[in-house]
Homo-oligomer: 328 residues x 2
């Protein structure tokens, strides 16, 4: 999208600023190498603003700019019971089953209000003011359509918060994968030796993913019964991010969407994480503006992930307007 | 073992009774076809007693006869949340995660005393008398050796019962397998569509596996939150069994072990299940005597399952003595 935008801008002599390209291919695994690259090339990467297109808009006809991102901490846990798979008849009832134990440990991580129970987990969470929550509530939201799109009868989340607040301004706890014991066809009566899970928490700005990684690890190790051994490996992490809406770059983005969509974009807090955005801020001291054009129907991180051509063309147009309007 | 025993008995004209062979190859999957075969051939299978070698003895130098078997009920459960895997950032916190939900459902199936919480589950459990428990307690048991053999720091089971009681006279609840979401290498931030588990309960004599299968199914369906859909499939089941120690066949077995091991066998209740044994009783009206020769070190249902040649040879000898001593 960006390359096409520049083609247009340069051809028509509309480009008002210098531009540097940075192409990243490891974002989905948390950009393990890009921070070191930034450290090593601060001068080369120096700029007034960073423009990133890795986000979505509310709907085809409702433009939005992502002004906040959640952080992330992600672990793999391993629970070991007996030193080999046992016959569930001969040992069942007398020896701790690592799957039963892991299920109890996961279950205990959230309470009946879907509040995360890890001690200290919420210590650095900044409660968003009632005023800001009231503004967020103005963003269009159709619960029936939301439920229908993913085919669930009921939504579920932290008590006392709306859907947009649950994904935008509150942390979350998800088991991304779990496995252990016999998973083939039919029945095998085994008391397995091991059970595993991939566990992630989404964090909000001001929560430090490294601190969260540590408190999760020590909590998980502490809560394990003496009948099993546990191992916790941190796989991935990133800080949250907030983009102020009163900086010139945000205002250029607003104008750009307005030109293409005929209305001002809604500033929204996204539940997703783009770890490198907060690294850019820490390492390079630069803010990023997130001009994305994805739609909820893109099914990202799912089978049949897609990106509509119409959004691609509108993106080219909007990005061109951004560079046209932006004055650092 | 049996064939070799007959070779010896017939050669030496020591066989005192007629014998019919029945060879079963589906025991590990619950003998789905043998009951129908028994129904269809009652006359052909008519006998005074059934002798089965599918059990273990306490130790190389401590013979035992299994006089009780636990029953079994086994299910596969499927928990479905959203209609596709979702991005855990964009949806995490607002949409029920089927792995989180399944973990809570499994955790809720047993309480802090490892007592099974399924309503009605214990209704038909016959409490074994203090007298019988005192006799059982005479069976040799070395907790340190037991823990060392499977390399666990602590045992875990239903409060108020010993290890042998937990596996012999009490039901148990084990998740034999679990899977869902991303289970590959590294981190994938997904809120999965589905989670699965293979769940089994070991039952004690007088608990009906079909009744238990039903109450589990309805309980699991009832306890599921409206944010997910659940499916329960019963995969496998069998009734428990008890063999009286005052019948001639048991006494012949006692003599046989005594001849080979120099001491009377200890009558023990096994935690395992051999569903066909109770089917034999129901369909053919015949008791079974369980003369097995396995050892705990056989690692049954595990990698490197094995059977020592010494036990094989002793089995041939003991089974020969059984047929020699048995008078229907």
């Amino acid at each position: 999208m960006h390359a096409k935008a520049f083609e247009y801008l340069v051809k028509n002599d509309l480009l008002k600023c210098n531009v540097k390209f940075l192409i990243e291919g490891e974002e989905e695994i948390g950009s393990p190498n890009l921070p070191a690259f930034c450290e090593a090339h601060k001068e080369m990467l120096k700029a007034d603003i960073i423009l990133v297109s890795d986000t979505s808009i509310i709907a085809k006809d409702i433009p939005s700019v992502t002004t906040g991102l959640r952080g992330l901490a992600y672990w793999e846990v391993e629970v070991t019971g007996p030193n080999r798979d046992l016959h569930s008849g001969l040992f069942g009832g007398a020896v701790a089953n690592p799957i039963n134990v892991l299920a109890k440990m996961i279950a205990a991580m959230t309470d009946e209000n879907n509040h995360i129970t890890i001690p200290g987990f919420y210590d650095d969470v900044i409660e968003v003011s009632q005023e800001e929550r009231a503004l967020m509530a103005k963003a269009p939201y159709n619960e029936e359509a939301y439920k229908k799109a993913i085919d669930v009868a009921e939504l579920s989340g932290e008590a006392g918060y709306t859907t947009n607040e649950r994904t935008g301004i509150r942390p979350s706890f998800d088991v991304c994968g779990i496995w252990g014991g016999y998973t083939g066809e039919g029945a095998k009566t085994v008391l397995p030796s091991k059970a595993f899970a991939k566990i992630s928490t989404r964090l909000v700005p001001n929560q430090d993913h490294e601190k969260i990684a540590e408190i999760f690890k020590s909590h998980f190790e502490k809560m394990a019964p003496a009948s099993v051994q546990v191992k916790v490996t941190t796989l991935h992490g990133g800080q949250g991010y907030v983009c102020p809406i009163d900086i010139p770059a945000y205002q250029a983005a607003e104008k750009a969407y307005e030109k293409v969509y005929g209305q001002l974009p809604v500033p929204v807090r996204s539940g997703g994480s783009i770890p490198i955005i907060s690294s850019f801020e820490d390492i390079l001291g630069m803010k990023s503006v997130l001009m994305g054009f994805g739609l909820e129907s893109d099914a990202i991180h799912s089978p049949n992930e897609n990106f509509p051509v119409e959004q691609f063309l509108k993106g080219i147009e909007a990005i061109s307007w951004f560079y046209h309007h932006y004055k650092g």
